[in-house]
């Protein structure tokens, strides 16, 4: 689960990770009030959307006076910000973070994430703050410091020093840095974060280290033990169809193509998208109804996909293991009767009770196109949309 920068900074404050003074504003008037309370200029006006690259897209500006705060807040609020992470349609800015400007001696990068290969928490740091860290890692890997923390032992003092001195911080800044990193690690573990990133982390002329930016993602599987985080979810940042699907525990991702698809199991769902592409069409979504889905889930999946105006045909691919094909077929028939089918629907089923399932589909008198195997299904779906 993603949250906004201002929410991440509130969490940072709770864990004594130093951040600039500032608050979230939903209107120009609020922006001015907050700026007045900061006690001086410059003030930074930052668009709050769930995507990186906001600065380059024109969503982060420096204001030297109250007039500029007013002008910039008015300009950024309501604008559609397009960055390399938003996709071409961009995201509409609905809130701003108004923050006190900082004196910057040096910009650094600091990130924490779970390392899959070593099953540990890895701290990544670099002197190349403010840059795209992926590119730094690719072009100049020697400029990235990596320290792996044993999760059973926790972060050790020597590891903090390894990162701090590795970044070339002056000895006078080590106390500030040490406090920041150990508190950040505590926050990471306490909230089951999957990623915490500060880019840039800054060193000020008085040897203080603070987080100028803040990005935090949480492990969705662990949200059950962090009820307070659920309030931070911003549904307006998510695709409405994906929000709807998540209400029914369906794994759904909205994509750009025109072939809707419904599959049981994540791996098979990905492979089915690939098959659609191979056949010369493009998938409109990823939809995994689960390895052992109920007929109710199938029905909801069908309804959500048929409601998508860009979908011109639907491919249903089911391997019945635990989910029996006859149960599944009944779910499809029920859903089709309720919602009505106005576009071609190709059904490919295999596995437990497949003959019974095929009979149910054939007897229903619906306009479904049966496919004998995966290749046949791919050909039929491509023919239906092309």
């Amino acid at each position: 689960m993603k949250i906004h920068e201002y929410q991440a900074k509130d969490l940072f404050r709770r864990y004594n990770v130093l951040v600039p003074d500032g608050q979230v504003a939903f209107s120009v008037e609020e922006a001015k009030q907050i700026a007045a309370g900061l006690g001086g200029f410059p003030v930074v006006v930052k668009a709050q959307i769930h995507a990186g690259g906001r600065g380059k897209g024109g969503g982060v500006k420096l204001a030297a006076s109250m007039e500029e705060v007013e002008a910039l807040a008015g300009q950024i609020l309501g604008m559609t910000l397009i960055t390399h992470q938003t996709g071409p349609e961009g995201k509409r800015v609905q809130k701003l973070l108004i923050e006190a400007g900082q004196k910057i001696e040096q910009e650094l990068y600091l990130g924490l994430l779970v390392d899959r290969a070593t099953a540990s928490i890895v701290i990544m740091a670099s002197r190349d703050g403010g840059m795209d860290i992926e590119q730094v890692a690719q072009k100049t890997p020697e400029r990235i410091i990596k320290v792996y923390v044993d999760p059973l032992m926790g972060l050790q003092g020597y590891q903090i020093r390894e990162v701090g001195f590795g970044l070339g911080l002056p000895a006078g800044a080590m106390k500030s840095f040490s406090g920041l990193l150990s508190n950040l690690y505590k926050l990471f573990v306490a909230y089951d974060s999957s990623m915490v990133e500060i880019n840039p982390l800054i060193l000020t002329p008085d040897d203080t280290v603070l987080a100028l930016d803040a990005k935090v993602d949480f492990d969705s599987n662990a949200l059950y033990r962090h009820k307070d985080l659920l309030e931070l979810r911003d549904l307006s940042e998510e695709d409405p169809m994906e929000v709807e699907a998540s209400r029914f525990n369906l794994n759904y991702i909205n994509l750009e193509g025109n072939v809707g698809n419904i599959v049981n199991g994540a791996g098979l769902a990905m492979a089915t998208m690939d098959i659609i592409k191979n056949a010369g069409a493009t998938p409109a979504n990823f939809m995994d109804v689960g390895g052992g889905a109920s007929s109710e889930q199938v029905e909801n999946a069908f309804r959500i996909i048929l409601a998508d105006p860009k979908v011109k045909a639907v491919l249903i691919n089911i391997f019945g293991g635990i989910l029996r094909c006859d149960i599944f077929a009944q779910g499809v028939v029920d859903a089709a009767r309720k919602t009505g089918i106005r576009i071609p629907v190709v059904v490919r089923m295999e596995g437990t009770n497949v003959d019974e399932g095929k009979r149910i589909l054939a007897d229903a008198g619906l306009d479904l196109i049966a496919a004998s195997d995966l290749s046949d299904a791919a050909d039929k779906i491509a023919a239906a949309v092309n």
Partner: protein
């Protein structure tokens, strides 16, 4: 032979009295698996059909000599259940549970490093040695005894592959789903190396997906250590970056974990690549 499990494996089921636990225990017994015990805290002394239920894994192991465990407990208790089995000396632990928090698994993995056991999963369909022993939720009857080893990160996708193999008369030695989570127990390399050492296995099918770099590492390992022919498939070539494709581990982060990089690693290391799932049975028939 076969790998990890066979007709002598004595299975206990953690979470045996739950809906899924009881349903799949019956399916495993029907397949011929020797299920000797169940564990549900607070239900010790009862029976699930003909299977005695214990309060703890340690008691179940002591009472029945169980040497493998199948875990069905809900995600908040998954890590605890795995550690309980490991601490009781269970040799093979198969965790079906989907949705265990990643930091729990990070701790479990480090905890297991000091134990003599093998964890398969979590978030996996389990392991089956056709004709001998099924520990998991896969449909038993699509499998056929034979000489192809199958290893995969997925569930239904594996069934699809196995079904195609069986229909073409290609039986399997052992099929293992290692799970779709980013941090899991047994990895591709563990399984590949066991297949290499197994006399019954003459060829290997490896089914990977986007996310992480386990497939790339496995490909390099195959080049250096595996003499048996390998057919590889990768799911998710059309997946967008930054999105979690159902499995917690199936996500392209920046430039890492893409399907294209995995396919390239397969080709560079002499693995026969199948690009279209519908063809995998036929390609195996040709190659093997």
């Amino acid at each position: 032979m076969s790998i990890f499990v066979n007709k002598d494996t004595r299975l206990l089921v953690q979470g045996i009295t739950g809906n899924e636990g009881s349903f799949h225990t019956r399916q495993c017994i029907e397949y011929g698996t020797c299920v000797v015990a169940g564990v549900t805290p607070g239900k010790g002394g009862k029976m699930m059909d003909k299977v005695p239920v214990f309060n703890t894994v340690a008691q179940a192991v002591k009472g029945t000599g169980a040497n493998a465990s199948l875990i069905f407990v809900p995600p908040p208790f998954g890590a605890d259940a795995i550690m309980e089995a490991a601490d009781a000396g269970v040799a093979i632990i198969v965790a079906i549970t989907e949705g265990i928090p990643i930091l729990d698994m990070v701790r479990v993995k480090n905890f297991l490093a000091a134990k003599k056991c093998r964890l398969i999963g979590p978030n996996c369909p389990g392991i089956i040695t056709p004709g001998e022993c099924k520990i998991g939720i896969m449909p038993g009857k699509i499998h056929k005894q034979g000489s192809i080893g199958v290893v995969s990160r997925s569930g239904t996708l594996t069934y699809e592959v196995v079904d195609q193999l069986t229909k073409l008369g290609l039986g399997q030695s052992t099929c293992i789903g290692i799970g779709g989570d980013p941090v899991n127990g047994t990895n591709f390399i563990d399984v590949l190396s066991a297949f290499q050492d197994d006399d019954q296995t003459s060829a290997i099918v490896m089914v990977g997906e986007i996310g992480g770099n386990a497939e790339e590492e496995a490909a390099a390992f195959i080049n250096a250590n595996i003499t048996k022919p390998v057919v590889g498939f990768i799911a998710g070539l059309t997946a967008p970056p930054g999105r979690r494709m159902g499995h917690a581990g199936a996500i392209i982060s920046g430039s890492s974990g893409t399907g294209a990089a995995k396919i390239a690693a397969f080709r560079d290391n002499g693995i026969h690549v199948c690009e279209n799932l519908g063809e995998i049975g036929r390609i195996c028939k040709e190659v093997f």
